[in-house]
């Protein structure tokens, strides 16, 4: 009962899109702060490219988890303190679709 309520609420959160203002902030974050490692056009730098062609076979959930928790042992830092699950999911989908 509790578990399904929890599951439902995470589902609801994961579905909620960030509001337009927040989307704008997240795009800024993506271009500039993620861009310092992945390149301003996300074609890669110290971090790998984040383009539809390189991400198409990676599930959005997996990418969202990478964004939230980082990859220990690599320079990819956890962005959990700054983006929620729903926002990480939104970013992951945006990356898979292509940012432009």
């Amino acid at each position: 009962m509790l578990a399904s309520a929890l599951a439902l609420s995470t589902f609801a959160i994961a579905q909620a899109e960030p509001n337009p203002e927040r989307q704008q902030e997240l795009r800024q974050l993506l271009l500039h702060d993620c861009g310092s490692c992945h390149g301003l056009t996300l074609k890669g730098g110290l971090g790998p490219p984040l383009l539809p062609t390189t991400l198409h076979d990676k599930p959005a959930e997996y990418l969202a988890a990478t964004i939230r928790y980082g990859r220990p042992g690599t320079p990819m830092p956890p962005w959990g303190p700054f983006v929620s699950d729903a926002e990480a999911m939104w970013l992951a989908k945006l990356l898979k679709e292509g940012v432009q």
Binding site: D33, G39, L40, T41, G44, G45, L46, P75, P78
Partner: protein, 390 residues
């Protein structure tokens, strides 16, 4: 003299022909990278003004610049592998090539004839004729069984050499370009995990690479390379837990003040102080974020520090004699770079999210001017032309 005069006259005529009513020198000029738009602002530090904008330079995230020895030309290294030569007098692109898929920085040789570019993809260093931008040499960053490494921390060194580090391989290499037809590359292996950037001391003697994958820095004495690479500050963070790093620190502007050097710590809210006589730790500055650039005012009396996300809205200024914090400035969000004027009385600051360039008086620590610029990042003044490693 008789040979020179016609050339001079022709030059002067040429300049007037393109609309320069008066002759101009380049010693007080500079460029600001406008990273989002692939453009540059040409600036001038005598009157603190923006002279013009230059467009069409591609992806300029993380872009940097070096200058020809006559300070006439700038070479801009862009993220997309673009190498652009800009004419500082005419305020326009003189030549542009795209030399690789993904580059990270560059350097100009001691004799001014060669421009070197370090690449992430495919890793390696490519060397070009500074005049024509024609390819002169290719130094692949291969290691192990034919793997390719990202190259970081490329600098010029006396003896027409370039020195650089291999992120994936944990190596430092010296490329001696004194015989162009036959570049000699010397490798130093096992210098530490993941060198992320490097610097050369202003006298050109020590090359120091910062390590991301472990604590400490790797030091190579270029006067005595046979002694090999040694680790300095090997355990500066041994007992504390490392925080995640949201932006890699830069070592290029490494601050030397007297016999103290100030270096950003990786993943810590600290600046490390190193005694440059024996390279031992001489203390730390506690700061309010992870430092990115730690820059000394040219006289060495102050260091100015900016920070990684999410603390990239401030600059802390320290007195290098007392090691006290003099002030914390709040220029705005996204403080990306600081560049001192040649004698240090003023400093230019780029504030990305506010689309501003700001100038501060370093004696009063007051802002003296702001100017609009589109997502400005690196600021490069022409006096770098005459500095080893810049």
């Amino acid at each position: 003299m008789t040979r020179i005069r016609p050339i001079l006259t022709a030059l002067l005529l040429g300049l007037t022909a393109v609309g320069h009513a008066e002759t101009r020198a380049t010693g007080d000029l500079g460029l600001v990278i406008e990273r989002a738009d692939g453009g540059l602002k040409m600036i001038e530090t005598s009157g603190n003004t923006v002279l013009s904008s230059i467009e069409g330079l591609g992806d300029l995230s993380h872009a940097s610049a070096v200058f020809s020895r006559d300070e006439r030309f700038a070479y801009i290294f862009g993220r997309d592998g673009g190498l652009t030569k800009v004419d500082m007098l005419q305020g326009k692109i003189a030549k542009r090539i795209v030399q690789s898929g993904n580059s990270i920085g560059g350097a100009i040789s001691q004799d001014g004839r060669l421009v070197a570019v370090s690449n992430y993809e495919p890793g390696g260093v490519r060397i070009f004729d500074a005049d024509t931008l024609e390819s002169v040499a290719d130094l692949p960053a291969d290691y192990g069984d034919g793997k390719l490494s990202k190259v970081v921390g490329l600098v010029d060194a006396p003896g027409n050499r370039f020195v650089y580090s291999l992120w994936d391989a944990g190596e430092i290499r010296i490329a001696d370009m004194s015989d162009l037809a036959n570049p000699k590359v010397r490798k130093f292996e096992n210098i530490g995990k993941q060198p992320y950037d490097a610097l050369i001391t202003p006298d050109g003697r020590y090359y120091i690479a910062g390590l991301f994958g472990e604590d400490g820095l790797a030091l190579l004495d270029l006067w005595q390379p046979d002694q090999g690479v040694r680790r300095i500050l090997p355990d500066y963070g041994r007992n504390d837990e490392k925080m995640p790093v949201y932006k890699m620190p830069h070592l290029e502007g490494w601050a030397m003040a007297g016999d103290r050097a100030f270096v950003p710590a990786v993943g810590r809210n600290q600046v490390l102080i190193v005694n440059s006589n024996d390279w031992s730790e001489a203390g730390r500055l506690e700061v309010s974020g992870q430092p990115v650039f730690v820059m000394a005012r040219p006289d060495g009396r102050q260091v100015w520090i900016n920070f990684a996300f999410p603390n990239n809205d401030r600059i802390e200024v320290f007195d290098t004699l007392t090691l006290e914090r003099i002030t914390t400035l709040h220029p705005g969000k996204g403080v990306l770079h600081m560049e001192f004027e040649p004698r240090g009385e003023e400093v230019w600051v780029s504030v990305r999210d506010d689309d501003q360039l700001q100038i501060y008086d370093t004696a009063t620590l007051k802002q003296v001017k702001t100017m609009p610029a589109r997502k400005p990042s690196g600021i490069f003044l022409t006096h770098r032309a005459h500095k080893i490693g810049l």
